[in-house]
C-alpha cells in the first residue's frame, strides 16, 4: 500500500476558501492526493469535510483557491465536467436513483462511456444495442465484484441500507474513475457491514488502482485503511500526514477530546 511515495500527485488543492453568506465553511485548505493512495479526511461534524468533497467535484464553487486535477488547474468546474475528467463519488446520505434497479443504477454510472445517439437508441439496433450489451457486461463485472448478484434486478429503493451503500459504490465504480470520493461510506453500518465495505474499498484500490479520498468517522477504519490522513476542524486544516503521525498530533487529540462531539 505504500506506493504513494513514488507516485505522482493526481489532485492538489491550494488555498481553498469557501463560504455561504457570512458562514465560512472552508478556510484556506491546501493538500494533495497521490495517484493510487487512500486518503482520508476526518474531523468533527461540521468541519467542512463534505464541503471539501463538494468543492473537489465541482458542486460547490469556492471563492478562493484553485484545484489541480491531473495536471489541469482550475478554480471551478461543473460537476458533470468533473465526472467526465474521472472523478466519481458516493454520498453521505444515499443518493441512489430510487426508481431504478441496481443494474440500471450501475448502468447509469456508465453513461459517460456510452455515446450512441437518440436515433439509434430509439431503434435499439446496431451501435446502440452493441453499446448497451458491452456496458452491461462491464456493469456485471461490478455487480460480481461487489457480490450483489442477488439484487441485480431489484429496485434499489427497497434494499437494506448496507446494500444501498454498496450499490452506490458500484455506481461510482461504473464510471471507472481515476479518483473516487467516498463520503462516509460506512455511516450507519454494523461492524460486519463495515468490514465488508473496508474490504471492498481496499480491493477497489488494489484491483483497479483507483485513487480514493474518503471521509469517515470510524477512527479504527480510517487508521487501517488510509495511507494519509487530513484533519479538518471548523473549516480549518488541523493536521495532515501518515495515520500514526495524525494519531499523535496534539491538536487533533484536543479537537477530538476537548470539544464534545456527537460521535465516539
Amino acid at each position: 500500500m505504500n506506493r504513494q511515495n513514488a507516485a505522482e500527485t493526481i489532485l492538489s488543492v491550494e488555498n481553498i476558501s469557501l463560504s455561504f453568506g457570512i458562514m465560512k465553511v472552508l478556510d484556506d485548505i491546501s493538500f494533495d492526493i497521490k495517484r493510487g493512495e487512500i486518503r482520508s479526511i476526518i474531523g468533527p461534524n461540521g468541519a467542512g469535510k463534505s464541503s471539501m468533497l463538494n468543492v473537489i467535484n465541482g458542486f460547490y464553487h469556492p471563492q478562493e483557491g484553485s484545484i489541480t486535477f491531473k495536471g489541469e488547474t482550475r478554480k471551478q468546474m461543473a460537476p458533470h465536467v468533473a465526472a467526465s475528467h474521472g472523478i466519481a463519488r458516493t454520498f453521505q446520505n444515499i443518493a441512489l436513483f430510487k426508481g431504478m434497479s441496481t443494474l440500471d443504477n450501475i448502468m447509469t454510472g456508465r453513461n459517460l462511456k456510452m455515446k450512441t445517439n437518440l436515433f439509434w437508441q430509439a431503434l435499439h439496433l446496431g451501435p446502440a444495442r452493441l453499446e448497451e450489451l458491452e456496458n452491461r457486461e462491464a456493469a456485471e463485472q461490478i455487480i460480481d465484484f461487489l457480490d450483489i448478484q442477488a439484487i441485480r434486478k431489484k429496485p434499489v429503493g427497497k434494499l437494506p441500507y448496507g446494500l444501498q451503500k454498496r450499490v452506490e459504490l458500484g455506481r461510482a465504480l461504473a464510471a471507472e474513475p481515476d479518483l473516487l470520493l467516498l463520503d462516509e461510506p460506512m455511516a450507519g453500518m454494523n461492524s460486519e457491514e463495515k468490514e465488508d465495505m473496508s474490504r471492498f474499498i481496499i480491493d477497489v484500490n488494489s484491483q483497479f488502482g483507483t485513487t480514493i479520498a474518503l471521509i469517515e468517522h470510524d477512527m479504527g477504519v480510517v487508521m487501517d485503511l488510509s495511507d494519509r490522513v487530513l484533519v479538518l476542524d471548523y473549516g480549518k486544516q488541523l493536521a495532515d500526514g501518515l495515520p500514526d503521525e495524525v494519531r499523535r498530533n496534539q491538536d487533533v487529540i484536543d479537537a477530538y477530546l476537548g470539544v464534545p462531539h456527537e460521535h465516539a
Binding site: A95, G99, T108, N111, L123, A172
Partner: protein, 358 residues
Amino acid sequence: MIYRETGQFKAHYQDDQALFPIDQDRYVIFGVLFVTFALVPYLLNEYWLNAILLPFLIYSLAALGLNILTGYCGQLSLGTGGFMAVGAFSVYKLMVAFPELGFIPLVLLSGLITAAVGTLFGLPSLRIKGFYLAVATLAAQFFLIWLFNKVGWFFNYSASGMINAPPMTIFGVIVTGPEANGVAKYYLVAGIVAVFALAAKNIARGRIGRNWMAIRDMDIAAELIGVRPLVAKLSAFAVSSFYVGMAGALYFAVWLGSAEPTEAFDINQSFLVLFMIIIGGLGSVLGSFLGAAFLVIMPILLKNIMVDGFGTDSALAAHIEIIVVGVLIIGFLIVEPHGLARLWRIAKEKMRLWPFPY
C-alpha cells in the same frame, strides 16, 4: 398463475435485456398486436373506430410524450395542449403548402417543429423545478394558444380562425378529411402509435432513458456522475414535444378534421393528458395507454351504459359520470398511488408468484 417461467434462462445479454424477456409476456403482446391490427378494424363499427379508438390512440400518443417528460425525466409540464396545437398548426400549414410530401412525412415534420418549440420552452427547467416549473409551462400553453388564435398566417386568414384538414391520401387511401373511412384512419394512427410506443420503450431503457430517470430521481447525484442536466432535460423536452406534436397533428388532421385553438387545445387538454399519465402510471409506457383508456374510453362507456342501458337523463348521466370518474380517481390512488400500470405490474408479479403472496 399463468406464468410458467421455469426453464426460461438467458444465455446472452440481448435475451436478458429483451423488451419482453418472459415468454408469456411476448405471447400477450403478440396477441394484443394481433387483436389491434387484425381483429379490431373488422369487428368494430365506425362509431367505435372514429369516436372511441381514434381519440384513445391519439391521446395515448400524447400521454406517451408527456410521460417521457414528466414520468421519465421528472419535469412537470402543463403545456401539452399548447404543444399539441403546434403540431396541429404545423401539419395544417404543411398540408396546405406541401401536400406532395405525403401525410406521414408531414406528421413527422410537425413533430420535429414541435420538438424545436418544446426545447425552447424547456429552457426554464434548467433553473426551475417541481410545481414551479409546471406552472411556468403554462406560460407556453397560454402564449402558444394566443399566438395561433391571433396571427392570421397560422390559420390562413380564415374568418373565424378555424383550420380545416384538407383530404390527403397514403398509397391512394384517403386518411384525412370527411371522406376518410374509420378503418383507414385507425390503421394509420394505430401504426404510428405502435411504432412510436416501441421507440419510446427503447429510448427509455437505454442510456438516454436512464439519464432522464437519474435526473428525475436525484438530479444532483446524476450531475455528479456525469449526466449533463442541460442535455438530459432539453432532450426530454424535445422528444416529449415530438410525440406530443405528432399527437396534435393526428388529433387535428385525422380525428377532428377541423379545430380552433382556443377550444381544441386549451388548458383542459394539458390537464387531461397530465391526469392520464398520473392515473396510468408515471414512467410507464403501458401506463400512458391505460391512463388514456381510463379517461377517454371509460367515461364514454359509462355514459353509454347509463343513457342507453338505464335510460338515465343525459344531463344527469353527465353529472354522475364526472362524479364516478372522480371517485374512481381517488379510489385508484388510494389503492395504488403509482397508477394503473403499477397496479398491473403488481397483479403480474402476483401472477408470477402465485400461489405465494411474495
